[in-house]
Symmetry: C2
Subunit: 181 residues, 2 copies
């Protein structure tokens, strides 16, 4: 499956595309960031993020999209922009009928490093190793987006197995697709 | 000028359209809400808000859009959805090349009641009076959206006058349009 991960942000929106399946080697397809100028109005920046993400969707045609779940934390000013950028990413995917899953930062860290409190360097190192890259992807937002995609490939697979098991025990009335979201 | 006001929210996104100019009577064109079911996924709800708002833009063709500026306040869970719904509204407008202005709740209250800390009932009463309606618009989100549009007609006019004055004194190099945003 091909997953496009989005690490949302107004200034740098990280994007990473990974091909993979559980138990098989992962392959990086592409990664990068959509940037918008801090001096622009928020409405314009959201439009630029939409236009930038649309190009990624057009070019790489992901089957699934993973977006970081945003929490209101320390920096309230930043978190608003992050929430709004994540809304744009969700909208781009849903408009195309692509299922979107949200993962928390600790879910992503735990998936790629085994430790939900791992730091950025550790996440970058594991993304580099898992994708067999020569160096950690730069900027960190791109590496985080790849980590999200990897997390989704692995976690999504687990929930798919659970969904299949539920479907087997509960018969044709079950709707395993819902477990993916 | 015709202004479409948006009081953003995931469950009820208020929309109000007002025609007017400073010093002249205001006229309500339409008001209502775009609703999305609380049990749906956020990504789906954002898509439904986009589809709902697009119908309003298609039908009423506003020249300007006013959106409530979202702050992270008490209820962190709600504010994320509000920020995301406001992102969708900004995106719908900007995609059509319609200028978007954000107004804080206290700017709106001060504009329509003279008091930045007025309560919902007072705002509803003044919206009813200013638009010469028989009763306060329901639900409150629709009334708030109308108040946003009224606020923009009045405040926007003031900033337009300032922009025009600046343009007169600073010559052809000035770009008065920027002051509107």
């Amino acid at each position: 499956m091909r997953v496009l991960g989005v690490d949302p942000g107004l200034t740098r929106c990280g994007v990473g595309v990974v091909d993979g399946a559980p138990g098989r080697p992962l392959a990086m397809v592409a990664c990068g960031v959509v940037r918008t100028p801090a001096e622009s109005e928020v409405a314009q920046r959201l439009l630029q993020i939409e236009q930038g993400l649309e190009l990624w969707f057009d070019q790489y045609r992901p089957e699934l999209v993973a977006v970081e779940r945003v929490f209101a934390q320390h920096n309230v000013r930043t978190v608003m922009g992050t929430a709004q950028a994540s809304a744009v990413a969700m909208l781009c995917a849903t408009r195309r009928g692509i299922p979107v899953t949200l993962h928390t930062p600790s879910e992503v860290k735990a998936a790629v490093t085994g430790n939900g409190r791992a730091d950025k360097a550790q996440v970058g190192a594991m993304v580099t190793r898992l994708l067999r890259l020569d160096a950690p992807p730069k900027p960190a937002d791109a590496a985080d987006a790849l980590a999200l995609a990897i997390c989704h490939i692995w976690r999504g697979a687990a929930t798919d197995r659970i969904a299949a098991a539920v479907a087997r025990t509960s018969g044709p009335g079950a709707r395993p697709k819902e477990y993916r979201r």
